[in-house]
C-alpha cells in the first residue's frame, strides 16, 4: 500500500510533524523542554585507572561516558608501561 489517498497522506504528515515537535515538549519544538534528566553524580577517577578501565572494555560494549567525570592525573602514576596496555 504505497499510495494511499492524498488527504490521508497529508494528515499523516501533519501528525508526524506535530509528533516530532511535541516529543520535544511543544513550545516550538525546543529540545530544552524534554523531560529533565537528573544531574549525574560527579565522579572522580585517576587517569591511570580510567585508561585501564576503558581498555578493559570489549569492543562491543558501550563506551565509557566521560560526562561528569573528573580525571585526576598523577604524574607519579603515569601509565607509561606501554607493553602493559597491549590487550
Amino acid at each position: 500500500m504505497f499510495y494511499p489517498s492524498v488527504k490521508w497522506r497529508m494528515a499523516a504528515g501533519a501528525m508526524l510533524a506535530a509528533a516530532v515537535v511535541g516529543c520535544n515538549g511543544g513550545g516550538g519544538g525546543s529540545p530544552a523542554m524534554t523531560t529533565p534528566t537528573p544531574p549525574a553524580t560527579q565522579q572522580s577517577t585517576d587517569f591511570s585507572s580510567l585508561v585501564y578501565m576503558i581498555f578493559g572494555e570489549p569492543a562491543n560494549s558501550q563506551p565509557v561516558s566521560l560526562d561528569n567525570l573528573t580525571i585526576v592525573y598523577d604524574v607519579n602514576d603515569d601509565p607509561t608501561d606501554f607493553n602493559g596496555l597491549l590487550m
Binding site: 490521508w8 504528515g13 501533519a14 510533524a17
Partner: protein, 532 residues
C-alpha cells in the same frame, strides 16, 4: 491527476538546507579525515541487468588531491566503517555491513628492499615508497603496501547482534583487497590501465542469509559530489540564483547578475575520494517491511588510544575499549549546514533513534536567516522590491520536519514511522536509466531519484537551496498533467522567494558517472601534471 501528488511535493522538502555534503563538516571529524564520511548514496541499481539490486556507496576521506604521495589515502586500520540499514522503521539498524582494514608491507611487513652498497656486500635497504615499479592488472609485484579488508554482516543491533563474515563467492575467502590509489600514469600505464587494475578487486560476494550474490568494491574513485564549495562558505560569494532563463541556456536572461551553470564552479572536480561500495539484492535488504529501507553510514574508533612512544609500522599505537562512533551520514548536508556548531560533533556520535534532540535545528533552521542577512538588501535593490525578509516565516517548519524525519507517504515512508534522520529508499520503484534521469530527482518527475534514495547524479545542492527558501509554500506542478498543487504546508505569503531558482552554479548529472557498479568513475591520476 498523478497517483503521486503528495509524494512529489513533500519530497521536495527533504533536502533541507544545503551547500556542501559532509566534507570536513564538524570540528572533531576534521581531525580524523580517514574516518570522515563525505557522501552516502543509496539507490536502485540502474546498471543494465541489475534491476533487482540496490547500490550503497559510502565515501570517506574528503578532498583528496590525486598527487598526495607518497602515502596517498589508505583507510584507517583502527577504524570500523559501517553501513546500516533499518528495514522496519524503528530507527534502529537491522542489518549492518562492517568493514575493517589491515595494512601490510610487502615481504611480511619488512617492505621491499634494494641492495645498496658494494656489489660484494650490499645492504638490503627498505625503500620509502609504496611502489617501486609499474603496477598492472597482471602484476602487483612492485607494490610495497597492501590494503586488505573484511566484511561482516551483523543482523540486529550492530554491537550485540549476530555477526557473520561475508565471503568471496569465487573462492570462499573472507579477505578482500583494496586497490592502491591511482599514483599516476607512469605507475599504472594509463587511465585504462588503472581501471583494469582496480576492476579486478570488484568481488562477487555471498551474503549470509541471502540467496543471491552481491558485489563489493572498496577503492579510490573520482569525487562525484559537485559544489561551489569555496565561494559558498565565503558568505556565499556569488548571487545564488540562476542567471539564465533555464539551467545551461546560456542566454543570461535569468536573475540579473545571477550565477550560471558552469562545471568550473565545482571545485571538487579535481579531487578523489575513497568509496566503500556494495551492491546487494533488494530482497536481502528490505526484510519484512514495506519495501522501504533507511540507510546511513558511520565510522567508529575504539574509545582508548595510547600512542606508542617507539612507533612502528605495525604498532604505532594501541587501541582498546568500546567502539565509539565519530562519523555519521545519511541524508546529504545535514551536519554540514543544519546542525549548529556546538552540536555537530554530538550529531556525529549519535544514532537515528535519538534524533528528536536535534528537532529545533529543523523546525527553526538558521540558514534561511543567514541568507536573508546576506542577500535581503541586494535582492530588493536588484528587483526594486521591498521584501521585509527572504526567509520563510512558517514556524515551526513542519514541512521540513515531516519530510526530514519520516520520509514521504506513498514514496519512501516505512510502514512504521519513527522520526529519525536517514536516507530512505523505496526498493519497489523501478530504476531510471542514466540517460533518462533528472538531476532534480523526484522534483524533476523522476521518482527513482533523490530524495527517494540518492544517486550520484542527483543535484542535491540546488534542490535543497530552493526548498529551504520556501519552494514548498508554492503550488507545485505535480503529476502527468503538471497541475499546480497546493501542499497545504505553508503559503506563498510565508516565503517571499520560495519560487526563485536558487543554485550554486555547479552542475551534475548521471552522465557524469559510469553506468555500471560502482558508478563513481576511475580516480584522477597523481601525475603527470595537467592530467588532473
Amino acid at each position: 491527476m498523478s497517483k503521486y501528488p503528495w509524494t512529489v511535493a513533500a519530497a521536495l522538502s527533504v533536502p533541507l538546507l544545503a551547500f556542501a555534503s559532509s566534507h570536513r563538516e564538524a570540528p572533531n571529524i576534521s581531525r580524523l579525515p580517514t574516518l570522515d564520511g563525505t557522501d552516502f548514496y543509496m539507490f536502485n541499481s540502474y546498471e543494465s541487468g541489475r534491476a533487482a539490486y540496490v547500490t550503497l556507496i559510502a565515501n570517506y576521506i574528503p578532498l583528496q588531491d590525486p598527487y598526495g604521495g607518497p602515502n596517498y589515502f589508505a583507510l584507517d586500520p583502527a577504524g570500523l566503517y559501517e553501513i546500516e540499514i533499518d528495514n522496519n522503521g524503528d530507527a534502529k539498524e537491522d542489518l549492518t555491513f562492517q568493514f575493517q582494514f589491515t595494512n601490510t608491507l610487502a615481504k611480511n611487513n619488512a617492505g621491499i628492499t634494494l641492495p645498496v652498497g658494494p656489489a660484494a656486500s650490499p645492504a638490503a635497504v627498505a625503500v620509502p615508497l609504496k611502489n617501486v615499479g609499474p603496477i598492472s592488472a597482471s602484476s602487483s609485484a612492485n607494490l610495497n603496501f597492501i590494503e586488505t579488508y573484511t566484511v561482516t554482516l551483523v543482523t540486529g543491533d550492530r554491537r550485540t547482534g549476530v555477526a557473520t563474515p561475508v565471503a568471496n563467492a569465487a573462492n570462499g575467502s573472507t579477505t578482500f583487497v583494496k586497490p592502491m590509489d591511482y599514483i599516476g600514469q607512469k605507475s599504472f600505464g594509463s587511465d585504462a590501465g588503472y581501471a583494469a587494475y582496480a576492476a579486478q578487486y570488484m568481488y562477487t560476494i555471498n551474503v549470509p542469509g541471502c540467496s543471491a550474490p552481491g558485489r563489493v568494491f572498496v577503492g579510490q574513485r573520482k569525487e562525484g559530489f559537485a559544489v561551489n564549495l569555496g565561494e559558498v562558505f565565503d558568505l556565499v560569494n556569488f548571487v545564488p540564483i540562476e542567471g539564465d532563463s533555464s539551467p545551461g541556456a546560456g542566454d543570461g536572461k535569468g536573475f540579473p547578475g545571477g550565477i550560471t551553470q558552469n562545471p568550473s564552479h565545482n571545485v571538487l572536480a579535481n579531487k578523489n575520494i575513497t568509496s566503500i561500495a556494495l551492491e546487494l539484492p533488494a530482497a536481502c535488504l528490505k526484510g519484512s517491511g514495506n519495501g522501504v529501507i533507511g540507510g546511513w553510514t558511520t565510522a567508529s574508533l575504539r574509545q582508548a588510544r595510547v600512542l606508542n612512544p617507539n612507533a612502528t609500522f605495525a604498532k604505532p599505537e594501541v587501541n582498546g575499549g568500546a567502539w565509539t562512533q565519530v562519523s555519521r551520514l545519511g541524508m546529504p548536508l545535514v551536519n554540514e549546514v543544519v546542525i549548529g556548531l556546538p552540536d555537530k560533533d554530538h550529531f556525529n556520535s549519535s544514532s537515528p533513534i535519538n534524533d528528536a534532540q536535534f528537532a529545533t535545528y529543523v523546525t527553526n533552521p538558521s540558514l534561511p536567516a543567514l541568507l536573508n542577512a546576506l542577500f535581503l538588501a541586494p535582492v530588493n535593490a536588484t528587483l526594486g522590491t521591498s521584501i521585509a525578509n527572504l526567509a520563510p516565516n512558517n514556524f515551526p517548519r513542519n514541512d521540513l520536519v515531516a519530510a526530514f524525519l519520516t520520509g514521504f507517504a506513498g514514496l519512501n515512508q516505512q510502514a512504521t514511522v519513527t522520526a529519525s534522520e536517514m536516507l530512505r529508499l523505496n526498493t519497489a520503484v523501478a530504476a531510471t536509466p542514466a540517460a533518462a534521469q533528472s538531476f532534480f530527482g523526484v522534483a524533476g518527475g523522476d521518482l527513482a531519484g533523490f530524495p527517494n534514495g540518492r544517486r550520484p547524479g542527483d543535484n542535491v545542492v540546488d534542490i535543497a537551496l530552493r526548498v529551504v527558501m520556501g519552494a514548498l509554500c508554492y503550488p507545485l506542478p505535480i503529476g502527468a498533467n503538471k497541475a499546480p498543487t497546493n501542499l497545504g504546508l505553508c503559503a506563498p505569503a510565508n516565503a517571499p522567494v520560495g519560487n526563485v531558482p536558487f543554485t550554486d552554479g555547479a552542475p551534475v548529472n548521471a552522465l557524469d558517472f559510469d553506468q555500471t557498479f560502482p558508478y563513481l568513475k576511475t580516480p584522477l591520476p597523481g601525475s603527470p601534471i595537467g592530467s588532473m
